[in-house]
Amino acid sequence: MKKIIQFIVLAFVLLPGVARAQEAAGSINDMWSFPVVYAYDEEVTWFFDLSTTTFAAESDVYLWIWSPSEPDAGNWENSSEFAKLTYEGDMIWSFTLTPTEYFNMTPEDIAASAGFWFRLKDLTGSLQSEVHSMAYTDYSSFAGSGELWRSYPSSPLIDEGVSILFNANLAEGFEDATSIHFHSGLNFWDIAVEYQSWIPEVVEKTQLKNMGGGIYKMDLIPQEYYEAPDGYVMENIAFLFVKDDWAGTTADQVLYAGEFIPPPPPVFTFFPQQISKKDFLGIIRTNNEPGINTLIYTVTAGTVEVTGEITGGVSEIKGFVNLVSALQNVDVTEIHVLVKDNTDRTISDTTIPLKQLD
């Protein structure tokens, strides 16, 4: 009897260890890579958006990958440092690797494998994501396609990566190139990154990567590469490829951006159409450009000057000037209105006649 009680007690003491269940963290919200397309022996950074999981922001997250091979085998309860992800902010983690080195496999073997299958986990494996695979874009069809260049994705976005492949075999005079450079600009050269061959940093920045067999690749994120201001709308990237120190160029090329819906033009109006000195003057501007959020007005009527600011946003900036009080004791037949925006641009500079009341 006593032995039975001891056994039961022992069982309860051991129970917490047994009951330490693995907690499901949920599915990864989004995954992508930079470069967008890459060779298996090229360094790449994988990004994981874990905003839909129960992983805590800034916490330590590890890669547990078993296909094409299992570099951290046997360490589920204590992941190795080399399998640790980097926190990038906003619930996004990254992992940088060169597949051939990380998996200790040849490009051919990786290509023949089932792909990149993994879970993300905490150090001890008590918290784990669902099983996922990191998609890989096979670009091998490009070389024989007869296309001079091809972009991935075909319609890039300003704040996401794009890989532009170039087939130098199809560009006349590029056969013996030692380096190829990307001479380009956003929105038909509005914001350009020119190939200034006398500046070493620019030479490096604009240089395409030689992928072998006459295929070259340019990887960039437009927002960063062109240092475009916030809110800038990318419509296209105009570019040409340059051989060595301007020893030759391709013709001008244009890559059109994705999801570009031209915003409606700004509309500025006064309200009402006809006004007396005993009325309110409305100043309204709709469909404002990004970054335009304030109108600064100066209304002059004889010796009286009324100034003020009207704030708003992209959809509308609207306010009224109180002529009723300001012009109560002024005998005037017209007012002059100057409106500027927060970039000191003149929006309106006009004289408005005042209706004489019956």
């Binding site: 009402p272 006809q274 007396s276 009224f320 109180n322 009723v324 009080s325 009341l357 019956d358």
Partner: protein, 172 residues
């Protein structure tokens, strides 16, 4: 037989009508608009209408001014004497003077017009009511809902180009 029943019903009908003696009650003075307007009124909404834009189908033709220039605090008091005759009016709240903030008033008619034309509120600067300063249209007369609507119309050469519509409700 059938015709006798009809005659019988006809006679009964005549008796019933003949016995009806209408009771109109004793005579009471009809309620005037002065009586209905007497007191304090708070602002529910103030709309500025571009009458030129409206007439020419240009948008926008109307702006809600209720959130500007303290109009949320706008109140107006119409006072009458013991005989329900109009005396003074007064705008309360620190708002721009679209019309003089105080003075004397009277209506173009103490009753609604049979032709449906809006009764006008004449505003004066003097108690004798000889110096008219402005006029308002009484677009909606106070009823059981204790709400009314006043319209201030700006005209030049007889043509309206802007108007202000004050929707008010009775305070207290």
């Amino acid at each position: 037989m059938r015709s006798k029943i009809i005659y019988g019903l006809a006679i009964m009908g005549l008796i019933a009508v003949g016995c009806n003696d209408p009771d109109d009650g004793s005579y009471v003075d009809p309620v005037t608009i002065y009586e209905k307007m007497d007191g304090d009124w708070g602002l529910m909404s103030l709309n500025m209408v571009d009458e030129y834009a409206k007439a020419n189908a240009i948008e926008p033709s109307e702006q809600n001014m209720g959130a500007y220039f303290n109009y949320e605090d706008f109140k107006i008091r119409f006072s009458v004497d013991d005989n329900m005759e109009p005396t003074t009016y007064e705008v309360m709240g620190d708002v721009p003077p679209l019309f003089p903030a105080n003075g004397y008033w009277k209506l173009s008619s103490a009753f609604q017009q049979p032709n449906g034309e809006a009764v006008k509120i004449y505003l004066y600067s003097d108690a004798q009511k000889t110096q008219m300063t402005d006029e308002l249209k009484l677009v909606a007369v106070p009823g059981s809902g204790e709400q009314m609507e006043l319209q201030l119309v700006r005209k030049s050469g007889g043509i309206a180009f802007v108007s202000y519509s004050f929707k008010l409700n009775a305070v207290n």
